[in-house]
C-alpha cells in the first residue's frame, strides 16, 4: 500500500515529445485510470512508472522511496500487460509462482533438477506453492493450475495475468489495457471483478485504458491525458460535470457533448442565430464556445413560452431509439455537426423527420476559443439557483 507521486515527468522519443511535464499525486489505495486517445502518452507513462522506460526528466516516488534509479523488480510493483505476457512454456502454476521463485529462492535453489535438493529449497517451494493456491482459488484458477496458457480461454489467461500480479502482494498494481483483448460481455464482467479486487486488496491501482466507460466505472479518480499532458485529474463525476477543457468534455460522455460556437452581442451571446442572455467573463474572449450535454436539452413544443433560456432551433435529421431513451439529431444552421439531444422515447415519437424542433437548456459549459474552461457562466434575468443545476 503506498502513495505514488509523479513530478515533472518528461519524455521524448527522438524529436517527438510524448510527455510534457506530467505530475500526478495518487493516494494510497486509490484506483486511478489514465485515459485518453491512442498516442496520448498514457502507456508510456505507465511504463515509466514500471521502470520499463525511463523519463528524461522528473521524479517518481512510491511511498517514501524515490524509485527513478531502481529496476522494475525492486520497485514493488506488478504489471498486467495488454497481451498478458504469460510464459507459454510454463504451466499456470509455474507462471503464478515465478515472481516468488525469483525472489525467494537462491540461484542454486532455482537450478533445474539439482535445485530441488539444495538445502532449504523444499520448504520454500512448499510455501510458494501454498501461496499460489491461495491466489488461484478466488480467481477460479485452481482446476487449471497444470494447464499451459495455450490451453486457456482469453478470460482465463487474463486471470492468470492478474494472479501473477497479485501473488507477490505489491504496493502498486499497474494495468495496461487489460480488458482490451476480451469480448464485450466478458469485459463488463471482468470490469466489476477488477473493481472488487481493488477493494479487497486495498492496493494502489494505476489503470491505463482508452475506454472512457472503463475509466468512469472503475476509478476513484481519472487522469485524462491528451498529447502528452494531463488535462484533468479528478473523480469521474467531476470530470463529466465539470470538465476543465473542451477536449475533456468531448472525450468523456456518449454521445459526445454538443459544441456550439458563439459570438458576443448586446447583453449576452448569439448562438446559432438566437440570443442567449448569458454573461461570460472577459477571459472568454470574443468567440467563446459553449458545450451542452445531450441530456441537458429539453424539447420545447412549438408555441409554448420559453421555459429555459438557451434555445436552438433546427430540423429533425435523424432519430436513434435506444430503448430507455431516444437520441434526436437536430440540424441547426451555422452548427457544423448535428445537435444531439437525449430525450424520452414517448416524446420523441411525436416528432417526425424533417419537422422543426426547438431545444432548450438552462445548463451550459463555456470555454474560450482555445478550449479552456471559463468559470461559471451566469444567465441574466433568471434566478441563479434554478440555473446552476438546470
Amino acid at each position: 500500500m503506498a502513495r505514488l507521486t509523479l513530478t515533472g515527468i518528461r519524455k521524448s522519443f527522438g524529436a517527438t515529445a510524448v510527455l510534457h511535464d506530467v505530475a500526478l499525486d495518487i493516494h494510497d489505495g486509490e484506483f486511478v485510470s489514465l485515459v485518453g486517445p491512442s498516442g496520448c502518452g498514457k502507456t508510456t507513462l505507465l511504463r515509466i512508472v514500471a521502470g520499463l522506460d525511463h523519463a528524461d526528466q522528473g521524479r517518481i516516488a512510491i511511498g517514501d522511496t524515490v524509485v527513478d534509479a531502481l529496476p522494475p523488480k525492486a520497485r514493488d510493483i506488478a504489471m498486467v500487460f495488454q497481451s498478458y505476457a504469460l510464459y507459454p512454456y510454463m504451466t499456470v502454476r509455474q507462471n503464478l509462482a515465478l515472481p516468488l521463485v525469483m525472489r525467494r529462492l537462491s540461484r542454486a535453489q532455482r537450478l533445474p533438477l539439482l535445485g530441488r535438493w539444495w538445502p532449504g529449497a523444499g520448504a520454500r517451494r512448499a510455501a510458494i506453492d501454498a501461496e499460489v493456491q491461495r491466489v488461484a482459488a478466488p480467481l477460479g484458477l485452481a482446476p487449471l493450475l497444470d494447464r499451459r496458457p495455450a490451453q486457456l480461454s482469453g478470460g482465463q489467461r487474463q486471470r492468470v495475468a492478474l494472479g501473477r500480479a497479485m501473488v507477490r502482494q505489491p504496493q502498486v498494481f499497474l494495468m495496461d489495457e487489460p480488458l482490451s483483448n476480451l469480448d464485450a460481455k466478458l469485459r463488463v464482467a471482468t470490469r466489476t471483478e477488477i473493481a472488487q479486487l481493488h477493494r479487497r486488496l486495498e492496493a494502489t491501482f494505476v489503470y491505463v485504458t482508452h475506454d472512457q466507460v472503463e475509466a468512469m466505472t472503475m476509478s476513484d479518480r481519472v487522469a485524462l491525458m491528451m498529447d502528452g499532458r494531463v488535462l484533468q485529474f479528478a473523480p469521474p463525476q467531476h470530470i463529466y460535470d465539470d470538465p476543465a477543457d473542451l477536449r475533456v468534455a468531448q472525450f468523456i460522455g456518449t454521445p459526445q457533448i454538443n459544441t456550439l460556437p458563439a459570438t458576443r452581442d448586446e447583453g449576452g451571446l448569439t448562438v446559432a442565430g438566437r440570443h442567449w442572455p448569458l454573461a461570460l467573463p472577459p477571459e472568454a474572449g470574443a468567440r467563446p464556445q459553449l458545450a451542452v450535454r445531450p441530456e441537458w436539452w429539453t424539447v420545447q413544443p412549438a408555441g409554448t413560452p420559453q421555459a429555459r433560456p438557451g434555445v436552438v432551433e433546427g430540423t429533425l435529421a435523424h432519430q436513434e431509439l435506444l430503448g430507455a431513451e431516444t437520441l434526436l439529431h437536430v440540424r441547426v444552421d451555422s452548427v457544423a455537426e448535428t445537435v444531439v439531444a437525449r430525450v424520452d422515447p414517448a416524446q420523441a415519437r411525436t416528432l417526425a423527420l424533417g419537422a422543426p424542433v426547438s431545444l432548450a437548456t438552462a445548463r451550459v459549459l463555456a470555454f474560450d476559443a482555445a478550449g479552456h474552461r471559463v468559470p461559471q457562466a451566469e444567465w441574466m434575468g433568471v434566478r441563479r439557483l434554478a440555473v446552476a443545476h438546470g
Binding site: A50, G51, L52, P71, P72, K73, I77, A78, M79, F81, S83, A85, L86, Y87, P88, Y89, M90, L98, P99, M102, R103, R148, P149, A150, R164
Partner: protein, 310 residues
C-alpha cells in the same frame, strides 16, 4: 422425435452413394492426380527404386539383374569399412552439430544484443553458407597445410603442438568437422535470429518485473524456452546436413588416411560410382535413409509434443 423417426428410414436405405458423389470423387482425383503422379515420379518412386535395388545383385552396366534377397545387407554387416564409415559419420555429426548449433546461437544472441552493424555481422557470418564449399575447401587445405598453413603457424607462434591435420588419422575427421561447423554456423545463426525476433518483447518485460532481469535469468527463463521450436528445427537440419557430409571428404582426404575420414556418403559414392556395385551402394543408401528418417521422425515428435506452444 423427428430424428428418432428418420433413423430407421436412413438405416433401411441400402448404402448407395448420394447423387453427385461419384462426380465429386472424380473431380477430386482429377485435381489431385497430377500432384500425386509427380510425387511418385520425383520423390517416392526413386526411393522405392533404391530400396528395391538393394535386394538385387545388379552392378552398373551389367546385362542381367537377379533377386539377391538380403545378401547385400549381410555383406554390410560383415563389412569393416561400412562400420568404420558409420562410426566416422556419427562422430562427425556428434562433433559438428552441438558446436555449430551453440556457436550459431551465441552469434545470433550477440548480434541481437548489439546496437550497430547488425546487417554487416549477419552478412559476414552468412557468407560461408552462400560460398561454394569446393572452392572454400582449397582455402582450408592451405590453412591446414603442415608447414605454411595458417593453423600451424598460429599454433606454433603460441607454442602449442602442431600436426598435419588432414593427414593425421586422429585429427583428419575433426579438421573436416571444423570446416563443417564453419559452414553450418551461418545458417543456424540466421534461423536463431528469426527465432529470437519472434519472441515478444512483453515477455522480457514481464520477466524483468517478476525479477528475472539479469542476462542469465533472461536467457534461462525466456530466451531458451521460447527458442525451443527453433532449436529442434536447427538441430534436425544441421544433423541431416552433417550426415550428408561428402564434398570436403572427397576433395581434401578422399576418405583417408586409412579410412579415417570415410563417411557413409563417401563409401556410397565409391561403391556406386568407382566400383560400380550399384546394388551394394543402394543398400548403403537405405541405411543412410533410415538415419535421416529417424531424425525427421524425432523432430516431428518433439515439435508436436513439447516445443510447440501454440
Amino acid at each position: 422425435m423427428a430424428d428418432a423417426m428418420s433413423l430407421p428410414a436412413a438405416a433401411a436405405r441400402p448404402r448407395r452413394r448420394a447423387p453427385g458423389a461419384w462426380a465429386e470423387a472424380l473431380a477430386g482425383w482429377t485435381l489431385a492426380g497430377p500432384a500425386i503422379v509427380l510425387m511418385w515420379l520425383m520423390l517416392l518412386g526413386p526411393a522405392v527404386g533404391v530400396i528395391g535395388l538393394s535386394f538385387t545383385d545388379w552392378t552398373f552396366g551389367a546385362p542381367q539383374i537377379a533377386w539377391a534377397g538380403a545378401a547385400n545387407y549381410v555383406e554390410l554387416w560383415g563389412d569393416r569399412v561400412f562400420w568404420q564409415s558409420l562410426r566416422n559419420t556419427l562422430a562427425y555429426v556428434a562433433f559438428t552439430v552441438p558446436a555449430s548449433v551453440f556457436l550459431g546461437l551465441g552469434v545470433a544472441l550477440l548480434i541481437e544484443a548489439g546496437d550497430r552493424g547488425r546487417g554487416l555481422y549477419r552478412a559476414l557470418f552468412f557468407l560461408p553458407v552462400t560460398s561454394t564449399l569446393l572452392a572454400m575447401a582449397l582455402v582450408f587445405q592451405f590453412a591446414f597445410h603442415p608447414t605454411v598453413g595458417l593453423v600451424n603457424q598460429a599454433l606454433g607462434w603460441l607454442g602449442l603442438p602442431t600436426t598435419d591435420w588432414l593427414k593425421n588419422p586422429d585429427t583428419a575427421l575433426y579438421a573436416l568437422g571444423v570446416i563443417g561447423i564453419w559452414q553450418a554456423l551461418g545458417l543456424n545463426m540466421v534461423l536463431f535470429l528469426a527465432g529470437l525476433k519472434a519472441i515478444p518483447k512483453d515477455l522480457y518485460e514481464a520477466a524483468a518485473i517478476d525479477g528475472a532481469d539479469g542476462a542469465w535469468d533472461r536467457f534461462v527463463r525466456v530466451t531458451w524456452p521460447m527458442l525451443g521450436p527453433s532449436l529442434v528445427f536447427v538441430v534436425t537440419i544441421t544433423a541431416i546436413r552433417s550426415f550428408q557430409v561428402f564434398d570436403t571428404v572427397a576433395v581434401l582426404t578422399e576418405g583417408g588416411p586409412n579410412k579415417a575420414t570415410s563417411v557413409l556418403l563417401y563409401q556410397m559414392y565409391q561403391e556406386g560410382f568407382s566400383f560400380l556395385r550399384s546394388a551394394y551402394a543402394a543398400a548403403l543408401t537405405c541405411v543412410f535413409l533410415a538415419f535421416v528418417l529417424l531424425l525427421t521422425w524425432a523432430q516431428t515428435r518433439l515439435l508436436d509434443r513439447r516445443a510447440h506452444y501454440g
